[in-house]
């Protein structure tokens, strides 16, 4: 199989979940697959998207909903984009300022994520009643899992995210500073920025993304459809290297974090990077420990498979919040952007893969098995806060 292109520029944002790219580079997995890769640190998600579109980057760590948005022409640019590889599950957290945390504690009944949202609702509604400014909460991008998870959690307690609070977007690396300057009261962001705010004594982590959607998909490896069509063999080689990296991280987590630190990919102290994975990051109104799994899953549970049902869920949220019209053909868009077929082409000879590209989301409270091509495959828990179940939509075509 000849590679169409061997020298690549791949973009990333300094976050713990850029790890598969970093490990593939530092452990020589890209090189082993015939690739010379330059990893480019980018300043914003919009920049990553634009550079992919104009061809300054070959591929990148991207927000999954951003690929859907760009393919639909939201946010100015329209260009079909796709992913055939998810970089992992979970990784987000919601952190609140110390002042807000103290206020929430007065209204808390239990330590559940739903209860935390209800305590927040009490605060939000009393601010409205007293004519105070609404709380300001930051996410990273209008088309991001962060935005949809945060809104989902707020809605679960009857908070209207468009009316009751003020939502802003900030790049991940600016979250902590904005919390310190009191520009914002809370944020929803990926690691290590929750740990960072906590370690600096600026806030408390209130909820993990896992508590809103267990093992929800996070960043994906994204390229333009055009790039994929011009470089299918190179794309496959990148995915093999990333898969090798994801499997390696699963067994060498602390060594992987050291690579992140030593290579200055993420400029925060190593012990902060490690906090959620050693269970040292306290979470919730009662500030208890959480499993490492509720922060990062890099490989197990079919974490890298691009489930079309998950793309459909994002599109449904985009409809719910009126970012896209109600008549958008969700099944068709998801099928074009989430290329489970290409993942199958690359990996089907090496392992058992699920028989279907979609699954109901939200049915399982613990790990479960589903039929695969070479025997059963294990999938993680997938419950939503509030217990709703998302049934995938069948494509008409």
């Amino acid at each position: 199989m000849t590679l169409e292109k061997t020298t690549l520029r791949l973009g990333y944002i300094p976050l713990t979940d850029c790890l598969p790219l970093v490990v593939a580079q530092e452990q020589g997995f890209f090189a082993a697959h015939g690739l010379t890769v330059e990893l480019c640190c980018e300043a914003s998600w919009a920049n990553i998207r634009d550079k992919l579109i104009v061809g300054h980057l070959d591929g990148a760590q991207v927000l999954a909903p951003m690929l859907l948005a760009a393919s639909l022409g939201l946010g100015g640019l329209r260009k079909p984009m796709l992913t055939a590889f998810s970089l992992g599950l979970n990784g987000n957290g919601i952190t609140v300022s110390n002042r807000l945390f103290a206020e929430l504690r007065q209204h808390s009944v239990s330590d559940s994520a739903l209860d935390a949202a209800q305590a927040l609702a009490t605060v939000v509604h009393s601010r409205t009643a007293n004519d105070q400014d609404p709380l300001v909460i930051a996410t990273v991008f209008p088309f991001s899992s962060h935005n949809y998870l945060l809104r989902y959690w707020l809605s679960a307690a009857g908070i209207d995210p468009t009316r009751d609070i003020k939502l802003v977007a900030l790049p991940p690396q600016q979250m902590v500073d904005n919390l310190r300057l009191e520009h914002i009261d809370a944020f929803c962001v990926g690691e290590p920025w929750n740990s960072c705010a906590v370690a600096m004594g600026l806030g408390r982590c209130l909820v993990t993304g896992y508590e809103i959607w267990q093992n929800g998909p996070e960043k994906v490896f994204g390229v333009t459809e055009q790039w994929h069509e011009e470089n299918p063999n190179t794309h496959a080689a990148v995915l093999r290297a990333l898969d090798q990296a994801a499997a390696w991280i699963e067994n060498n987590l602390s060594a992987a974090l050291q690579l992140l630190d030593r290579g200055h990919y993420v400029e925060v102290p190593l012990e902060w990077l490690a906090q959620p994975l050693t269970g040292d990051l306290r979470v919730g109104l009662a500030q208890n420990r959480r499993d490492a799994e509720s922060f990062h899953v890099f490989h197990r549970y079919m974490a890298n498979f691009p489930w079309r049902s998950q793309a459909q869920w994002f599109l449904q949220q985009m409809q719910r919040w009126r970012q896209i019209p109600a008549d958008t053909d969700i099944a068709a868009v998801a099928a074009r952007v989430y290329r489970a077929d290409f993942y199958r082409d690359v990996f089907e000879s090496t392992r058992s893969l699920p028989l279907l590209d979609m699954k109901p989301e939200g049915e399982h409270e613990s790990a479960w098995t589903m039929a695969g091509t070479k025997g059963d495959v294990t999938i993680g828990p997938d419950r939503f806060i509030g217990g709703a179940i998302f049934q995938p939509l069948q494509s008409d075509s």
Partner: protein, 198 residues
């Protein structure tokens, strides 16, 4: 001079002060009014809300771009044209970005002589795009409202044995009594029937 009162107001976002100063001078030479020059992390969202610039010019490498994109995606935050500049932009890349439908412009480096054309074209393109979008949204809302009203009318006719005119009149009266739009009343009726159905 009347031109002065109509001068477009510009906000500049750049982390490199020397470059920003150069661009500001070029803008002033073309009688734009530069109302703020920020570096990133200076609370862009608040500044835009307070100063209401006509145009925002931002370095493509600025971390503030995600903040800006969020603001323009919200209806309540009056969107405005954004001009981006990049030093590594080559002509081909700009062409590709334009074909992809970028409402902003990517400037290759900073050629002061081209600033006026670029800002003017960006503003014109933006206005055109906004008008189109508004039209599309209005059509879509009207269509969705129509469907909703018809469905609620159908439900009332079926469940309450009303004829079409009676169902419509009942809904109109309710809308007037409550000061709601007809489509909102229809939505409530549908929600109630769905609840009873379950």
């Amino acid at each position: 001079m009347t031109a002065k009162s109509k001068a477009l107001t510009v906000m500049l976002v750049d982390d490199q002060p020397a470059r920003a100063a150069l661009l500001e001078q070029a803008l002033l030479d073309h009688s734009y009014k530069v109302i703020a020059r920020l570096s990133s992390a200076e609370g862009l969202a608040g500044q835009v809300a307070r100063l209401q610039p006509d145009v925002i010019i931002i370095d493509i490498e600025s971390p503030d771009r995600d903040t800006l994109e969020h603001m323009t995606s919200l209806h309540r935050d009056n969107p405005r044209p954004v001009v981006m500049f990049s030093e590594e932009g080559d002509t081909k890349a700009i062409e590709r970005a334009m074909r992809a439908g970028v409402s902003a412009y990517i400037v290759d480096g900073l050629n002061p002589a081209r600033v006026k054309t670029i800002v003017d074209v960006a503003v014109a393109r933006f206005r055109e795009y906004q008008a189109l979008r508004r039209e599309l949204e209005e059509t879509r809302t009207q269509l969705a409202d129509r469907k909703q009203i018809d469905r609620a009318k159908g439900l009332l006719m079926k469940q309450r044995g009303l004829d079409e005119q009676q169902a419509y009149n009942a809904m109109r009266k309710m809308a007037m009594d409550r000061g709601q739009r007809l489509a909102e009343v229809a939505g409530n009726i549908i929600a109630v029937f769905e609840l009873l159905d379950n």
